[in-house]
Symmetry: C2
Subunit: 133 residues, 2 copies
Amino acid sequence: MSQSVQVESSLPVYRQIDGHHAPVPFLLTRDMFGGIPVELGGAEITALVDRPVAEPHVHDVPEIYLLIAPTPGAAVIDVEVDGETVRLTAPAALYVPAGCRHHFITRSAVPGSYCYGLFLHSPLERSEDHEPC
Amino acid sequence: MSQSVQVESSLPVYRQIDGHHAPVPFLLTRDMFGGIPVELGGAEITALVDRPVAEPHVHDVPEIYLLIAPTPGAAVIDVEVDGETVRLTAPAALYVPAGCRHHFITRSAVPGSYCYGLFLHSPLERSEDHEPC
């Protein structure tokens, strides 16, 4: 097997993130696998109905929210972006440009539903389509 | 709200991928959000125990396997990379360099367990650590 195949099995790792009420569990961080251009934070959300995990906050990189559930419609979150609310019904993805103030609130979730944030640290391909707030 | 906030709600999208027995469901593809440097494919795996979804195959970009379950240990997969097998127990992540022949087989999974492949299309930060097979 290639020496380059690497496993991360002591997951999640917890990171303090601005605006969040508690350390955030991450499955991917930039220091893994010799340096990757993404991070992935989030968790199962069954216990989070109507409980935001963070105050509205900003990042200096784009974030894609990913909402996953065992069956279509089995999880719903409200994502607040710059003071307006976008409702996501699983499965769904929402792109938050760098600098936009945001957070999410779970509205319903069956067991096995997850909300993740995928942070993109690499340059985007068509930057003109990604205006910051 | 910023014009740049974009939602993908008609998910998953299905793509034919080399080596796979059926079109693969994707939550993220490169054409979304004006062009992103990653793709994310995968699904709930409860119905896939001992049923590989693909023959061993290669990609021209690195892929990170992500194994997620409601509780630690509640899903197990075997990832075969260049003919050797690595066992992953949720939550876990495994890095497959570009060019390495690979596939996975689910060994156990409670409802709400998922296996995703995150494809990295952007240049890696420390390329010397990512030798191809």
